[in-house]
Amino acid sequence: MADLKVKIAGIEFSNPLIAASGTFGFGREYSEFYPLSVLGGISCKGITLKKRDGNPPPRIAETPSGILNAVGLQNPGVDHFIEKDLDWLKEQNTVVIANIAGNTEEDYCKMAEKLSDSNVDMIEMNISCPNVKSGGVQFGTSCESVGGITKAVRKYCKKPLIVKLSPNVSNIADIARSAESEGADAISMINTLTGMRIDINSRRPIIKNNTGGLSGPAVFPVAVRMVWQAYNAVKIPIIGMGGISTWQDAVEMLIAGASALQIGTVFFSDPYAPIKICEGLEKFMYENNIKSIAELTGSIKPW
């Protein structure tokens, strides 16, 4: 059978599917559906230096082929994660990625330092959350700020460092290069696109935060385009995400240039999606005599 294993920054994943941060909590809920080892890895709910309450509800709205969310990084804080969740996660036989989000550069550095002393496998630096007032995406929208924060965090981060990029930028290739040149081991992309829905009767935005992050199949073509552009710009591996729902989407994203994949919104319609996507991917590879995921990565033949 085809080999689904992938290696990102020296870390081996049993398959290329990683649960995307914010859609999967710290894994406990979905472990009531299936063993978490069906996933190559889990990117945990974004954590901050101190506990955060998140935004007032409603925090979600459905859109054509997608959703808008503005949870606002509700989480118990980095220390709680290390003390209460990490050991359990590490027993699940899957790669554990801590996703960190800060208000300030100092926050990111402190968290990277704390997590470097833990047994987490990788750190994903979220500089692309559109739903918090300070920090988040403000670090992710210019080459200077992406480069600056990557450089700063790199000093404290002894684990492989993934930088998660925002699609809300004018030139994704330049942003990706900035992360690479300042020491990112990998990039993950795309976070959500900023969007809005309004109730036409009350004239109120459906989400209390007014705006939210758009995800789901609606953003998939945007994600494919951006992964392709980033693939042409950098040598470090890209973890592709944004609306992947089927095994065909997974193959397409790999061909565009991704070395591994994250899936998120699809869990809400089908909790079993990773199992189905892996089965389809394996069958496709077998039928097309593709021996490894790496053979697919970036195999696009552009016009």
Partner: protein
């Protein structure tokens, strides 16, 4: 494994009031028998999100689900044909806690009435107060009578039953009951919680919020509750609820 998503065969789909549909779905391999006040999460063809619907009644291998058409998703659900297989995660959430020997007042408002039927079946001689906007929206009256409940009907405009609010009836009969369970619109739940506090009766309320995963992972269906130490925090309707002690809810 606590959770399971399964195919249920739709064996009944009737419009029992304007825009309100009454489903019965069947599955012989139900992982666990539903408790009163729990809900199910229904996959809707062509939609990204599932639709959370409260359990109106349950048996060993069937679930009765009564829902109101409110948008595109529930519209699609209402048009499903008998014999169709529906992908449902069930049962979810905590449900109402009821004890033998207590007399319960079960209050439902509008589309909050259905979960009170299954609750009524699990309690002895309950007082059931149902409130609706008007006579066109009245549902499930015969079902409550059949299960032996003392039933009161109210409408906001007086076109059926008592002209008034469920809380008017609750106040009148407050000395006849030990505890309150309620489901319905937030203003109604808030008013019921105030009455319960005033007369020192325990009260459980079932909340609703726009929902994502349905199992507690995505954290979107937040509701504010007061902890024992007085601090307020966001819990989640799908995992920590949908039923909460009225005292802890910050309305």
């Amino acid at each position: 494994m606590k959770y399971d998503s399964q195919s249920f065969k739709l064996i009944k789909n009737d419009e029992i009031a304007k825009g309100i549909f009454d489903w019965t779905v069947k599955n012989s391999n139900l992982s666990s028998v539903a408790k009163a006040g729990q809900f199910v999460h229904i996959a809707v063809p062509g939609k990204t999100l599932r639709r959370p619907i409260s359990i109106c009644d349950a048996d060993k291998d069937t679930l009765r689900l009564v829902f109101q058409v409110k948008g595109e998703g529930t519209q699609i659900m209402s048009q499903q044909k008998i014999g169709t297989y529906i992908d449902i995660i069930a049962p979810l959430g905590n449900g109402f806690k009821t004890e033998k020997g207590k007399r319960y007042c079960l209050i439902g408002g509008g589309i909050g009435v259905p979960p009170m039927l299954y609750t009524a079946k699990q309690t002895d001689n309950p007082l059931v107060i149902t409130g609706f906007r008007n006579k066109e929206l009245v549902i499930l009256q015969e079902d409550f009578k059949k299960c032996g409940a003392e039933l009161v009907l109210t409408t906001d405009d007086g076109t059926a039953g008592i002209h008034g609010f469920v809380t008017d009836v609750l106040k009148e009969k407050i000395n006849e009951i030990d505890e309150i369970c309620a489901c319905g619109p937030i203003p109604m739940l808030k008013a019921i919680a105030q009455v319960a506090k005033e007369f020192n009766k325990p009260c459980q309320v079932s909340l609703e919020e726009r929902m994502g995963c349905g199992v507690g992972a995505c954290l979107v269906c937040a509701c504010k509750v007061k902890q024992e130490n007085g601090e307020e925090e966001y819990l989640h309707v799908c995992k920590n609820g949908p039923v909460f002690n009225a005292e802890e809810v910050v309305f």
